[in-house]
Amino acid sequence: MTTTVQRPPAPASLRRGLLRLAAAVTTPLLPDDYLDLVAPLRAGADLRGRIVEVHPETPDAATVVIQPGRDWQGHRPGQYVRLGVDVNGVRQWRAYSLTSAPAGRQDPITITVKAVPDGLVSNHLVRHAQPGTIVQLDQAQGDFVLPATPPARVLLVTAGSGITPVMGMLRSGALAGADVTLVHSAPSAADVIFGAALRDLAAAGALRLVERHTRDDGQLSLADLAALVPDHLERETWACGPAGLLDALTAHWTAAGRGERLHTERFRPTIISPGEGGTVTFGRSGVTVAADGSTPLLEAGEAAGVLMPSGCRMGICYGCVLPLRQGAVRDLRNGSLTTAVPGDGVLVQTCVSAAAGPCDLDH
């Protein structure tokens, strides 16, 4: 005779049951709302981080050391993280390149921020951020990364804060042993973020460093680059900096038939052509506003008090994407038109899309 032993309930369902019970005890709040009071960085919480330290790099740039929450999954060098910071009481999301080498999941991460004129968040982080402050985080993202097997010959072209993702790569040690040339532009020697560290790396023979101080030497041109690095087209290249520089590099590499060797990271959208504008309806929020053809839907929504998802505000992170139920929007970066008829629900990036006629967003 066989007897069957009652199987113990699966731990997963027991856990679910307990969570439901806890939620019934705390309704209308969630147990998380109470746990957040004491352990905002715990596993299972919304991903957050605590600022551990802020140290200046240059007169207008600083590195922010952040202890991420328990659910942080780590990053690959060159990736960025979306950061939600409360500036003057208002939650602002921005994307910043990670400048620390990948380490254990519980180790602090760093971002390095350059205060740009009128930059709400960058100025706040560089000048006012206080250790102990809780910030909101997302998992690391971005495909501006090194391949699993780093190439033997590498060119890095950076300008200003464009050095930040590259610094993450250099610190990771992934390029150790490779023939690395870094061409970096900054107004002066004192403005070079990580200047001392880069010069140390160069002195140690880890890379060839070409500093271009634009105040004395002028803007870096393609001719300059060709003269400085004659074999640049033979090198796997990662470039990060202002749109003008990246556009020129892309054109040059593409013309030479080496487009696949160039990897770029853009920090800001290039606005080419404005749409024509129109009324924007945020269906579920019950808000309709008139927006002109140069105002991103994100800003139009925020100005009307709609709680808009947002991220980098430059069209790279897709944190602001919303379904366009119907209507037309124009991409502010390249003028391309996206249209949707009812049922389509095309996802559009609200931070770089403007109304090109009436549009109805599912939000």
Binding site: V25, T27, P28, Y34, L37, D86, G89, V90, S285, L307
Partner: protein, 380 residues
């Protein structure tokens, strides 16, 4: 209180149309000034308040686990009552108004907030924000005038059922949150018109049912069960805390629009209303409660009902600060700023509920004044 347009002395007769628009512009300017100044300090205020409320609620409920001991019962019940009042008034009501949406914090946002109340936030926002605040004190439009069960204005038609309204009001006060849920559902009207089969109504009724079940399960089953041997005394404690919260919020809210001195308006008076006229209606249709800082916080700053009705989406901590400017404006334009202590205003509101349970003494000749021009100035 009589519809303003039918009063022998119209309180705005001395204002010209230009005056009214200037008043509107001045109020807009106050609003813009506060909006431009919102920042860190305000965010700290609401976050600290929410933190305090949660700690108080958690602490009180923990104490109530031992509610068999009378001191624990008293402390726990008092703490929970205060926590529930804070949650509904200064936190819930104001967040659901969108007063804190500017922070863009999804955890403190009118679209995501749910409150410790049997009326689901979504339904309350509709009946309160969209209807009451838009049609404030317009007879036949603003159901807050007596909540559809009472007569609080001479110009509301008397019905024999109103004889019982002092009792209805008392019962409503004790179970105020259920009264609000029924009111947000427009239960009476929907049942009377046979709309109980209407799918939209049924969906909303189901949502209320779910919310009631969750609230009851928490307050009257789970927390008492967690208290073990203190089951019954914890049950009594949570019931008492809900009762205290209901009585308190009912009293505060009665003081907002029912006391003597508050004006009501004809339905036709709001046709084509300008922004200035809307502001004026809010100024004359609301009453404040004077008192300490604590009273203001416990009332959810509805003690600044006038300022709240002028600027329903400004953060409540700012009402106190704009009072001098708002009052100066009332004075400058010879308008009555209705305010009084809590006992005085509660007494005044109850007096009216009792007085108007009987028909008017002198029937009015409504026809003679029917065409009275609304909120518009005499010279307009």
């Amino acid at each position: 209180m009589t519809v303003m347009q039918r009063k022998p002395v119209n309180p705005i007769a001395h204002l010209t149309a230009e005056d009214i628009e200037v008043i509107g512009k001045e109020l807009d300017a106050i609003r813009d000034r506060v909006l431009a100044d919102l920042g860190e300090r305000d965010a700290r205020y609401i976050r600290r308040l929410i933190r305090t409320q949660r700690r108080l609620e958690l602490g009180s409920r923990a104490v109530l686990l031992f509610s068999l001991f009378p001191p624990a019962w008293i402390i726990g019940t008092a703490g929970l009552s205060i926590a529930k009042i804070l949650e509904n008034m200064e936190i819930g009501h104001n967040i659901l108004h969108g007063q804190w949406d500017w922070m863009r914090d999804p955890k403190i946002h009118s679209t995501t907030w749910e409150w410790d109340h049997v009326s689901p936030a979504e339904q309350w926002k509709h009946s309160h924000n969209e209807l009451h605040h838009r049609y404030t004190n317009v007879i036949g439009k603003d159901n807050d005038l007596g909540y559809g069960i009472m007569r609080v204005d001479e110009d509301q038609r008397w019905h024999p059922l109103h004889l019982g309204q002092p009792l209805w009001n008392l019962v409503n006060a004790c179970f105020f949150e259920y009264g609000i849920a029924a009111y947000d559902l427009e239960l009476g009207r929907n049942l009377k018109k046979g709309r109980h089969r209407d799918p939209a109504f049924r969906a909303r009724a189901r949502a209320v049912g779910r919310k009631i079940r969750r609230q009851v399960l928490k307050d009257y089953v789970l927390h008492p069960l967690l208290s073990g041997p203190s089951f019954l005394s914890t049950l009594a404690a949570t019931f008492t805390a809900n009762l205290v919260r209901n009585l308190w919020s009912h009293s505060v809210i009665m003081c907002g629009h029912f006391p003597e001195g508050v004006e009501t308006f004809e339905k036709t008076s709001i046709e084509g209303e300008t922004r200035g006229e809307w502001y004026l209606r809010q100024m004359l249709g609301s009453a404040n409660i004077s008192g300490s800082r604590l009273l203001h916080i416990m009332s959810g700053n509805l003690s600044h009902q006038i300022e709240h009705h002028l600027f329903p989406d400004l953060p409540s901590n700012r009402y106190r600060e704009v009072v001098p400017e708002v009052r100066a404006l009332f004075d400058r334009y010879g308008l009555k700023y209705t305010t009084g202590s809590l006992p005085r205003q509660v007494f005044s509101a109850w007096k009216k509920v009792i007085r108007l349970s009987l028909p008017n003494r002198r029937p009015r000749d409504h026809a003679s004044n029917r065409s009275a021009p609304a909120l518009r100035a005499s010279g307009a």
